[in-house]
Amino acid sequence: MDSTERYLVGVYDDDEEVLHAVTEVKSNGVKIEEVYTPFPIHGLDVAIGHPRTRIPIAAFLFGCLGLVCIFSLINYTMVFDWPMIIGGKDFFALPDWIPVSFEGTVLFTAFGMVGTFLVSNSLWPGKQPRTFDLRSTDDKFIMAINMSNNKKSEAEIESILRASGAVEVNVKQF
């Protein structure tokens, strides 16, 4: 890997504009590495060509895991380890176990999913982000183009970016 990576950074003013610009820039044969926006723009990930996220699958699996864990715990404690005679009723008191099983499922789903989210985006406390433009968390929409992935010259790409509506085009090296 190169020690320095060179990026062209297109700055856009408007969310709808950047969404159209992504399609336009891509159709001109430029590979977009990533787009940074202050708020979510529906369809932007699809336009860039990111694969669909599998977070919901992870959430579902964590939910299943939670249900199995908590239910096994209840079953073990209430039926096998220390069964209590309560009015001669069944030790396996399924309806009574629904609330806690539900809470356990929700707990595992939430924490498992958020944990997966943080790991898959490699977000952790104190991480230093690679920021292309500080305004991308404020009001600007930033398109980052990795020059090593593109064969076109910088001037060419810059003109494509400008034609697609970029108000600024900057160079950024890491």
Partner: protein, 469 residues
């Protein structure tokens, strides 16, 4: 991005704000020196907190014998306050989760502070749970942990154990939901930070967020699923709280209407509390352009709807007490309305059933002063509701020789004051150090609801045709 400009909706963001204005307006109070108003308010809540902490400390030290409880009335202010605070907490989740599922754009300006309120309210509720245990340092006995008694486990058939799981799950999931919502906004503050300290702290807590399209796409799913699981969670929490009562054999508690009635009451009081806090916050932090009359009106409508549901529940309860033919049940309800605690019952009826009906008038619904007063009245009423349910059902025991009244001691009152001190201290800290308005969500809905964006669209005609969601 899809923007449908509805002609019947009023604007949710006024003053012709741009995206940058949103950032500036919200970050202003985080970045600037604390105002004099904030310092006074924070100082007062710290004093209240300190007095309350003394009372609570004394309660923990001496035991709950310092409360006014007696052999007949074994639950009073402690559980009243617990249920009251948990109920208040529900509005935050409702605003952020249920309104997200229903795609209600007006939630975006108020969800952050409502969620913060949820967390603080549940903490206040937890303080009463711990205190009423008598020996709070043994609270872990309520958890299924291996121990040297056998292992003797908790009883999973008991609603009190369900409650432990419900409240702790609710608190931790709400905390995660709130924090995940904060991360992008913390990154905004980090990227604007001038001082070393704020660069460090906001940098640490924003987890290295950059706002890349890939992250946002995942983030949206995470929010949606968190909302999807929080919605049944919040309903389950107050359902389970109501089952603490409903599964008992006490006349006045043993009613099947409790779960829906408690949930409606919780939303009712929670929205009232959000309303009270927002009306203060919007003035103190000058956020009138984001928390508009439209927001206040929407909240008042929900207060009226849930207040009416609660009213119907009161009447149904009364009717069923008579219709069931159970003498104990009928007596309990007649005693509630006409017995020694009649004043609490009619306080509840007036505050919860009658007063929100004033919101049928548009003028009243849109009046800031009246909204504030009524939101406080509703919460007074909801406190009395829980007091009526708990104390008036207990105080006339089965044998007349056991009949008793409850009178609070200074520690009953002081522990309640503690919860206010805790709540407001945390809320003021939140309002100073964290963005009180969810900036990225407001920005994401601004087109279509802002006085600026629907008219000043720069894009060409063909682009603006693609406005279907």
């Amino acid at each position: 991005m899809s923007h449908v400009v509805s002609p019947i909706r009023e604007t949710l963001v006024s003053g012709g704000k741009s995206y940058h204005d949103v950032t500036n307006d919200v970050c202003k109070q985080v970045e600037g020196e604390p105002t004099k108003e904030w310092k006074i308010a924070f100082g007062v809540s710290c004093l209240v907190f300190a007095y309350g902490a003394y009372c609570l400390g004394y309660t923990w030290w001496q035991g709950i014998g310092v409360w006014g409880l007696n052999k007949t009335v074994g639950w009073a202010w402690d559980i009243t306050n617990f249920v009251w605070w948990v109920g208040i907490g529900h509005a935050g989740t409702l605003i952020s989760a249920v309104l997200l599922l229903f795609r209600q754009k007006w939630r975006t300006s108020i969800n952050r502070s409502a969620e913060a309120m949820t967390i603080f309210a549940v903490l206040c509720a937890a303080s009463f749970i711990l205190a009423h245990m008598g020996r709070p340092w043994l609270f872990h006995w309520a958890l299924p942990l291996p121990n040297t008694f056998g292992s003797l486990w908790v009883n999973f058939n008991s609603p009190l154990v369900w409650d432990v799981f419900a409240i702790s799950t609710y608190l931790s999931v709400s905390l995660v939901f709130w924090y995940m919502g904060l991360v992008p906004d913390l990154a905004t503050i980090r990227d604007r930070a001038q001082t070393k300290a704020s660069k460090f702290w906001y940098g640490a807590f924003s987890l290295g967020w950059t706002g890349s399209a890939k992250t946002w796409a995942r983030y949206e799913y995470v929010s949606l699923i968190l909302a999807g699981i929080s919605t049944p969670l919040v309903l389950s929490v107050h359902t389970i709280v109501s089952m603490d009562f409903a599964t008992s054999v006490i006349p006045g508690w043993h009613t099947t209407i409790f779960p829906p009635y408690f949930v409606a009451g919780a939303i009712f009081s929670g929205f009232a509390m959000v309303q009270s806090l927002l009306l203060i916050t919007r003035v103190v932090f000058k956020l009138e352009d984001y928390i508009t009359i439209e927001h206040i009106e929407m909240m008042n409508i929900i207060i009226t709807v849930t207040g009416s549901i609660v009213g119907i529940a009161y009447l149904t309860e009364f009717f069923i007490a008579w219709y069931s033919g159970v003498e104990y049940e009928s007596y309990c309800f007649i005693n509630r309305a006409t017995g020694p605690y009649w004043w609490a019952y009619w306080m509840m009826m007036t505050c919860n059933v009658i007063s929100p009906q004033l919101f049928w008038f548009k003028k009243i619904r849109q009046s800031i002063l009246v909204s504030f007063i009524l939101s406080v009245i509703v919460n007074v009423g909801m406190w009395f509701e829980r007091f009526v349910i708990i104390v008036s059902s207990l105080h006339r025991d089965y044998i007349p020789s056991s009949w008793a009244m409850f009178s609070p001691t200074m520690y009953d009152i002081g522990d309640y004051i503690f919860s206010f001190g805790l709540f407001f201290t945390l809320f003021f800290l939140f309002a100073k150090f964290l963005p009180v308005i969810n900036m990225f969500e407001v920005k994401s809905v601004m087109k279509g609801v802002s006085t600026n964006y629907p008219y000043k669209k720069k894009s060409s005609g063909e682009k603006s045709k693609e406005t279907v969601h």
